[in-house]
Symmetry: C2
Subunit: 557 residues, 2 copies
């Protein structure tokens, strides 16, 4: 494409479209054209080689999955509308696999029953489906995508740890070979579950995920996981007398702050959550956000959701925006940051009123204190206390220690030497194969186009023939093409009848690492011009030395 596609929001999407790697078929669904497929296949091969090197065994599980398996683990509801599914002609619900924990656990529980058969790791490279609300950024958030997913099975937690480490190391090798600048960060386990997990993030301004890093000690976590430590800053400020004040039409923290001319950090937010039939008041400082994952972990209540207006009135006697903890009958949980607040403002539990000069201990008590908030820039690093920084990234891989979450529910058991049965210890490990391509482009491009990392470049070299109708140019080009290809160097020959300018532009756009230019002028001197895509300089090389020269520079980064 000569022009940028209108829909492209990110550099990688724009360049993948323009260079003819992909075409959109419908929302969040892309075809790979020949050049794009070549790159995809190279990435697949890197992934496969490193998984095999790590001792994992390749299998292929189906896209179609019976919903009954997902009922066993309770994840049918947890995935909800994110799942693509259809009823077949017999009325059975078929799920289009968004992930394969249930299927692999089902296979293993039917085949394996002794500690002698453990440990092992299975993996597959298979298409996955998620009915995203907002597919975007090309292949980064799509409804159909290629995933490498692996699953480890061990007798105990120590074994699981080893399997986890082997996968973690394989992931590092994969992302390095694909030329990515990545960071492994501690991550939340979300819908997949388990206790420990790491995400592999590629820093990029167009990444959807936010991560936290400490430059000083190297601590790194994603936004959902990043721990917020308590730094006691309690002042000895005198507790003032409590008092209700009118705050007409104030709903949000900002409304109240404006009305009462205070900072949002002086206001306590009270949010009412519903968990099945129980209600819970969640208390946080007005300027920070509740982290639902942390809240679920801290309370042990998996089905928490914000109560609706009717329920809020039932519980507090007041509408949204006027709730507060004083005199409230339901259980509450407060973020650690609340400990430091003095003479703060809360909803008065009556419409259009707030209470000022509220203090913990005197006016109400917190039932639980916990870390239930998102980190914010400048928070102290939980490891060393230095201020943390935020940046955006693309998640290209995620590894999980699952423990026995699936094996217990689905009865994937083994017998130990004494004949006693135990659930297997599992891990699971995912790589977004398509995302590796997008992330590599986000990492490595310039104003003219893609600059491929050597290992995943669709071709190592491109021959640009200037005026290919000139017989000597055509013959020499073909000859050099054959020499390179015979030496195992994948080489594209641009013999189109177009101007040199157009062909150079296309070569830059497509990003092939080595460009060889052959024309009547270079042939006068018996040379060819060689230029690396990631360098400015060009040099003339004698035709007889071309193979030697290309071999020398072909893996140059």
């Amino acid at each position: 494409m000569r022009d940028d596609p209108a829909e492209a929001e990110t550099i990688s999407q724009r360049l993948m479209m323009r260079a003819g790697l992909i075409r959109k078929l419908t929302s969040g669904v892309y075809s790979y054209l020949p050049l794009g497929f070549t790159v995809l296949n190279k990435v697949i091969n890197v992934v496969r080689e490193e998984m095999n090197r790590a001792g994992a065994q390749e299998i292929l599980m189906p896209v179609l999955q019976p919903s009954e398996l997902w009922q066993e683990t309770g994840r049918l509801d947890a995935f909800g509308d994110l799942m693509c599914k259809f009823k077949d002609r017999f009325g059975r619900v078929n799920i289009l696999g968004p992930t394969h924990e249930e299927v692999v656990t089902n296979i293993v529980r039917n085949e394996i029953n002794s500690y002698r058969q453990l440990p092992f790791t299975l993996y597959q490279i298979q298409v996955k489906f998620r009915d995203e609300i907002r597919p975007r950024f090309g292949v980064i958030r799509s409804r159909e995508f290629l995933m490498k997913d692996a699953y480890s099975f061990d007798v105990d937690a120590a074994g699981m740890g080893k399997s986890y480490d082997a996968m973690y190391d394989a992931y590092c090798r994969i992302f390095s070979r694909c030329g990515l600048k990545y960071t492994a960060v501690e991550a939340d386990t979300g819908l997949i579950g388990g206790d420990v997990s790491h995400e592999f993030m590629v820093p990029s301004p167009s990444g959807e995920d936010q991560m936290v890093k400490c430059e000083k000690c190297g601590y790194a976590a994603n936004k959902e996981k990043a721990e917020c430590v308590v730094v006691e800053q309690r002042t000895d400020e005198r507790h003032l007398p409590i008092k209700d004040v009118a705050t007409p039409n104030c709903i949000t923290v900002d409304d109240v702050a404006k009305c009462l001319k205070v900072k949002p950090s002086l206001i306590l937010k009270t949010l009412i959550y519903k968990a099945d039939k129980e209600y819970l008041a969640v208390l946080v400082r007005g300027d920070i956000e509740v982290n639902i994952n942390k809240l679920v972990r801290a309370t042990g209540l998996p089905h928490l959701e914000l109560a609706d207006g009717k329920d809020v009135e039932k519980v507090t006697g007041a509408p949204f925006g006027s709730c507060g903890p004083v005199g409230l009958k339901v259980k509450n949980i407060a973020d650690n940051s609340v400990k430091d607040m003095v003479n703060f403002i809360v909803g008065a539990n009556k419409r259009d009123y707030h209470t000022i000069n509220v203090n913990l201990g005197r006016d109400f008590d917190a039932d639980i204190f916990a870390d239930i908030r998102y980190a914010v820039a400048g928070d102290p690093c939980p490891k060393c206390g230095s201020p943390i920084e935020f940046s955006n990234g693309i998640e290209v891989g995620h590894v999980f220690k699952l423990g026995t979450k699936y094996s217990e529910k689905m009865k994937a058991l083994y017998q130990d030497e004494s004949g006693a049965t135990h659930p297997m210890q599992m891990g699971c490990y995912g790589i977004g194969v398509n995302r590796i391509i997008a992330a590599a482009i986000e990492n490595s491009n310039d104003e003219n186009g893609i600059i491929w990392p050597p290992e995943i470049a669709p071709y190592k070299a491109v021959i640009v023939s200037i005026n290919p109708k000139d017989k000597k140019v055509a013959d020499t080009s073909e000859n050099i093409h054959n020499i390179l290809v015979d030496a195992g160097i994948e080489t594209l020959w641009d013999d189109r009848d177009l101007t040199a300018g157009v062909k150079f532009k296309d070569a830059d756009l497509v990003g092939i690492p080595i460009r060889l230019t052959i024309g009547a002028k270079t042939l006068e001197n018996g040379t060819v011009d060689i230029k690396l895509r990631n360098r400015k300089e060009q040099k003339s090389v004698k035709i007889s030395s071309i193979l030697e020269e290309v071999e020398k520079i072909k893996n140059q980064k």
Copy 2:
């Protein structure tokens, strides 16, 4: 598995299950375990190499397809319930691709516009979905399967012919390399369309498809396509007077034949078909079947279906089983075989009555004569007249000359040198990747298990260590394993602590071409026993000569 799975109907399904290649997840849906995936991957590589050698370019199109594309070609209705589809969260209908003609034509019409860019052939290896009424025979008729599908685009019919021939030849190479005994047969084009097509069939008693062959001249076609030639056999038998006779409770041809004590071939079947709002009487001899594909072609009516009882009564005045052509007001079409019938029996168009001694010309006329029946064993070969034979086969590939069926409807046009636009000439070409594995096993097995063709065997060699706890046995086995693997010979080492008998049985079941047995006894003589899976004899080979010996026999068929 020690025992045969109850559900396995065919040899290949039984052996694929027992040898641990596949496991059923749900009806018509299978997982490939490590050994099965290894074979699948080898088949994929053979397919890919031969497609690339033929100059086709690999792409990857999505599983999810918007229904709008299928409306353009009218195939949404044609596929009907065979299609898997679901509504996404925004209410859009997503089709799970059963094939990709619409998607590839959509890509090409957006990218290509000049004769200069033609010809080319694109292909992919991608999972496909069909909601089969009766999935069966393991991976042979499944709801989810892997297909290699290719599509050629040319400026004219001659070019399309060349592209078709190139694919045909590539298919021959692929099936030969995979060790299949195959036959290419003329085939009907069915739901895909076009004028010319060939199926690649692997003869097997458990094949679902029937094919016709003439041993004398080599003519071969599938049952749907096989031409039935008219052999005039008219007798000069005198036409007897027409007469109605009672046939109480006779519905089928057999009922009537029994009741009137005649052969079914003396009865004329009259079937009422509905085409949109038109009705059609279809006349065939009582002992032969109507071929709906031929009927559609002969009448030019694409939406023919058998009329229901109510419509039959409306058209003929009689229920099913009593219809006949005499005095009927709707148009009729008669199979050529009807020409030879004399003094035959037809339904009387009144309940429980038939008319005997009916004759063409005197009592009614056929509006059209055509070949609208299935061939039967003993029919004359349409090429040479010798009697044809029937056999069963597994369809592993199908190639089609599509012409402009899709390019016209979807406006995939190119400009010629003069600037005039034309629809592209297309071909399409499919291979059932999973079926190659099943067909190879159907072709090559014995009572002990699979006998893999060398090129798709999961491993070339298996080392069976007798008593692997014996250190010398274990060390020598490992050493030989390393020598073979380092030489690029994929070798499995069975070091399980099981009896020699069990390990030999498993080696035979899994079907690895070369078996090396290493035990204390063989080592006494400094030898290893080598046996080919497809031979009875075993021979002793000096350890120092093993690599040489294995290299010599590794591709032996």
